[in-house]
């Protein structure tokens, strides 16, 4: 059986809205964590930031930082999505493969 390999541009994933199983927007992709193993770089987690209000502003990193600076949202609110729980077959619409409730929260950075 042939394995279908797909190339995704990481820089184009940045700031994309991430959708839950029920189709609702969960937040935006803020960061991708990876680990170096055996000379290769393996993706471990996707960080999705959730900003209920002023969501449009949060689409830009500048906007997110401004919101944090003004305390409009606690730093690090969002979810950690393990690498196997994000469906990237359509890179313009990343979708969760599990329930939101199953996701660990993003902790506040010190």
């Amino acid at each position: 059986m042939s394995v279908v390999s797909q190339e995704v541009h990481v820089e184009l994933l940045l700031n994309r809205r991430v959708y839950a199983l029920n189709g609702r927007a969960v937040g935006r992709l803020e960061e991708i964590q990876a680990e170096l193993r055996a000379g290769e770089c393996f993706v471990t987690e996707y960080h999705v930031g959730a900003y209920a209000l002023v969501e449009r502003l949060a689409a830009w990193p500048v906007g997110r930082e401004l919101l944090r600076l003004f305390g409009a949202t606690r730093r690090g609110v969002g979810y950690r999505v393990p690498w196997d729980k994000l469906d990237l077959r359509d890179p313009t619409r990343p979708r969760l493969r599990c329930e939101v409730g199953e996701l660990a929260p993003l902790e506040e950075e010190g």
Partner: protein, 405 residues
């Protein structure tokens, strides 16, 4: 010991490099129309610049990055592209104004129309950058720029009513020509608070390989150099207030600038103004040209040190060559240098947020400034400037139409 020398050098450089056509023109117009009433605007601009320049130096010393470097890295290519397009356009207009200033000074001295000087001046400028190193350019032109101290001498010699000057340090409302008053206030702020000054300062700090040990030096250079420079601008305003206002001379044409010091110094006054204008504007034009090229090179990750040979940084060299040509073109089109100056200053003020907002965020990001991040005072000042800039952005266009020309 070395640091003390660098400090003195930094202050001299800042003094000599502070005045340019924007500050001279806006100060002269302010004095001619409103006497000493707008002194507060110059002082406010100076105070803001001190804070911004100190922070620029701090960011560069701690993160070892220039501001454009840090903006691309922190906020991504998208934002950097926006910043580049907006700032480059505005700064090119300012460059046109500064080159115009040099050409006007040459017209004063030779009688040959300023448009004819555009190409030769641009060529000389290009040659200076092509052959010179960063320190030679910065220090050489700034040392010559000390001639602008003649304005302080002139203001002193005119014996203005000093209490009245002091009273101008507090903001007051105008009794006439309200739109004009506020438009000039906006232009004064736009002339002093320029992103290119901050970016250039951070480029210089990285070129000079500053590190955390330079934080104290940085503070002194920022405060000392910028304050002194501010006083020179105030001196121009005072002179215009004493010499122009009583005669009803409104600085509508650049040739009137030549009259600033003739009362006080006679023939020499005329020569001093021409020299000051020419040198100050040349210095500013050099800085701006270098900074546009730096902004592009740094954002794209090219080689950019001014201490290398041109062929080792071909893209950077091409960039500043193109910039010089564009600046010269702008002057040759015959746009009135005065109008271009005022317009570009107001536009600078209006587009400040694009650069200052990410800058504020960087100054609070420990990834870049470590434990040397902004305290509440520095943040408050920057927030105030951003607020001011948004207001300026809103009112600039209407004011330009009503109060500009």
């Amino acid at each position: 010991m070395k640091k003390i020398f660098e400090m003195a050098l930094g202050i001299v450089t800042s003094i000599g490099g502070f005045l340019e056509i924007g500050s001279i023109t806006t100060a002269a117009q302010a004095g001619a129309l409103f006497g000493f009433q707008l002194t507060w605007a110059i002082l406010l601009g100076g105070l803001c610049v001190i804070f911004l320049v100190e922070q620029s130096g701090r960011l560069a010393a701690v993160s070892r990055r220039t501001i454009p470097d840090a903006i691309r890295e922190r906020f991504g290519f998208d934002y950097y592209a926006l910043l580049l397009v907006v700032l480059a356009l505005v700064i090119l207009l300012v460059l046109g104004a500064e080159l115009g200033g040099v050409c006007v000074a040459l017209e004063f001295v030779t009688g040959v129309g300023y448009r004819w000087w555009a190409v030769p001046v641009a060529f000389v400028m290009w040659l200076i950058i092509w052959k010179g190193t960063f320190s030679v350019i910065e220090q050489g032109v700034s040392a010559l720029g000390l001639v602008t101290l003649c304005f302080i001498a002139g203001a002193w010699a005119l014996h203005p009513h000093w209490p009245a000057v002091a009273a101008g340090a507090l903001p007051t409302l105008p009794t006439h020509d309200r739109a004009r008053y506020w438009f000039i206030a906006v232009s004064i702020l736009g002339a002093s608070i320029t992103p290119y000054l901050m970016f250039f300062y951070s480029s210089g700090a990285v070129e000079d390989k500053w590190d955390e040990s330079y934080l104290g030096v940085n503070r002194i250079i920022a405060a000392g150099g910028m304050s002194f420079g501010t006083f020179i601008s105030v001196a121009v305003l005072v002179i215009a207030g004493v010499v122009f206002l009583p005669r009803g001379i409104q600085v509508e044409h650049y040739s009137q600038l030549a009259l600033l010091l003739t009362d006080v110094f006679g023939r020499w006054g005329f020569r001093l103004v021409a020299a000051s204008l020419g040198i100050a504007c040349l210095g500013a034009a050099l800085e701006i040209t270098l900074e546009i090229a730096y902004m592009i090179a740094q954002g794209f990750g090219w080689n950019w040190s001014k201490n290398q040979r041109p062929k080792d940084e071909a893209r950077y060299s091409l960039t500043y060559t193109v910039v010089v040509i564009l600046g010269a073109l702008l002057v040759t089109t015959g746009v009135d240098p005065l109008k271009l100056t005022i317009f570009s200053m107001a536009l600078t003020a209006a587009t400040l947020p694009v650069a200052i907002v990410p800058f504020l965020l960087l100054m609070n990001d420990e990834h870049y400034v470590g434990e040397h991040g902004n305290g509440w005072l520095s943040n408050a000042v920057v927030l105030l400037i951003i607020g001011l800039a948004f207001v300026l952005a809103l009112v600039t266009i209407p004011l330009e139409i009503v109060g500009g020309s």
